[in-house]
Amino acid sequence: MSALPWLVALPLLAGIATFVLPERSRAPVGLAFSLPVLALSLWVLARVAGGDTSPHVLGGWAAPLGILLIVDGAAAGMLVLTALVSTACACHAARYLRGKTANAHFWPLLWFMWAALNGIWLSGDLFNLYVGIELLGLAAVGLVALAGQAEALAAAMRYLLAALLGSLAYLIGVALIYASLGSLALPDLAIASFDGNGRVTIAVALTLMTIGLMLKTALFPLHAWLPPAHGGALSPVSALLSALVIKASFFILLRLWLALSPDAVPLALAWLLGVLGAGAVFWGGWMAWRQTRLKQLVAYSTVAQIGYLFLFFPLATTTVDAAARLAWDGMMLMLLSHALAKAGMFLAAGNLILAVGSAQIAHLAGVSRFRPLSLLSFGVAGVSLMGLPPSGGFAAKWLLLQSALASGQWIWIVVLVLGGLLAAAYIFKVFRHAFVEGPKRDHFESPPLALELSALTLALASLVLGLAAHHPLEWLRIASPFGGAG
């Protein structure tokens, strides 16, 4: 019996269970469910690494009516990443939310989010992906609104409007593709060939879906909803949103582009995505540097880091196979290391805010002496975001750099180098304030150890990923268009 349906069913069950149980038992039950899902995700990765990538047809109903679950290296990697980040954030939240009103609603929403994410990683057809991204959007908006103040509610509302608009654009694309192919299964999309009229339809559909997913991924210049939503949410929620939720719409974009045969993909659109990605790196980095509030700085840093992922599209259109493969490796590694580092950084930022009692960066003065552990997690995560060795962020940028060299697309090297400098500027801005020994303040709150450890674990994981990137990269290539066994 395949494990794949359980990776969606078990989180859904957890979501319902934590919703109906009395409020005081929700946190322990919600936390307890993460262990079997984590184990199951690791088991699926082990199976995929062993070469088993057989799809699962839900209930025996074949496409187009049935639901097809597929698993390849990338899907398995995302499953494990989701499980790791969510478990760490759940540990953080269990302590962080204790005694708060948000505690009751956090757990069902977390689990519905997890179910939607796993559904997206495993879905093999475009409509199922639509349902997944809608469920994910609703859960994520609910999580943002949990913070409760007017600012967070406005952010949640803006997020919801952007998400709805994005998914409608996607849905119209789905309608066009179904009209011209008569199927929405990704494997059918891959073998379809397009003539005159069909080419136009597919190009329009692809453009609409790409715009919709760009809006949901918050790619510059459609990023305006992200900083208030990610900056205004509760810390564990910010971590989950920045690490995982925006990656889901990017992942769908990836699935869509890679399913279509290369000649069906307009080259200009791929380059446009790369240029917008470069714009995101510069604009996001610049805006991050200008922020006065800590979590807003981290949120703008997410806008910047998303940009690197989109460099994959122009790099992958190259005719040099080795360069395309390097681009895939670099992009996937960037995805994983950003997820780990950014989750760690948001949790660490939450801890720093807890210690200082203020969200302003300028109020961090003196925190380095009294709460070094919180600052350490922030710094370790920062190493990966800046792309310094030996972090995962460094390895990812190195691979992207080599890909740019091998394909002759020199222009992206400028983006990679200047982007790293900008990241250094905004991260050292935090440190500059933290090391100020200004007004003689010697009393800081002490964040509980569970909060410190969950932040540090995630930050260290992003560092370790750089040291041991070889095997993960091999697994992520499995059953992808970029070679690898399976």
Partner: protein, 98 residues
Amino acid sequence: MSTSLFYAWVGVLLCGAGLFGFIVHDHLLRRLLAFNIMGSGSFLMLVGLAQDGRGVDPVPQALVLTGIVVAVASTALALVIFRRWHRVSGESMLPEDV
């Protein structure tokens, strides 16, 4: 032009009208209505385009049923957040639109 294709074109019109309303209006309730019009338009397109020249097809109808459930759920969530926002801030628009 077949009946199905006519439906699809009406869907395109509704989508256009909805998008226009979504952009020009600031009041959140109007935006939500505009979104629902867009949603109906895209459902019409989904069914109309798929059945044009191919006869009745159950798959897009099943998809649209799912889509309607999703649209109702998102509308409900939007209304709840809008009510809470209105109670907390007294506004019926987002801060930057006021």
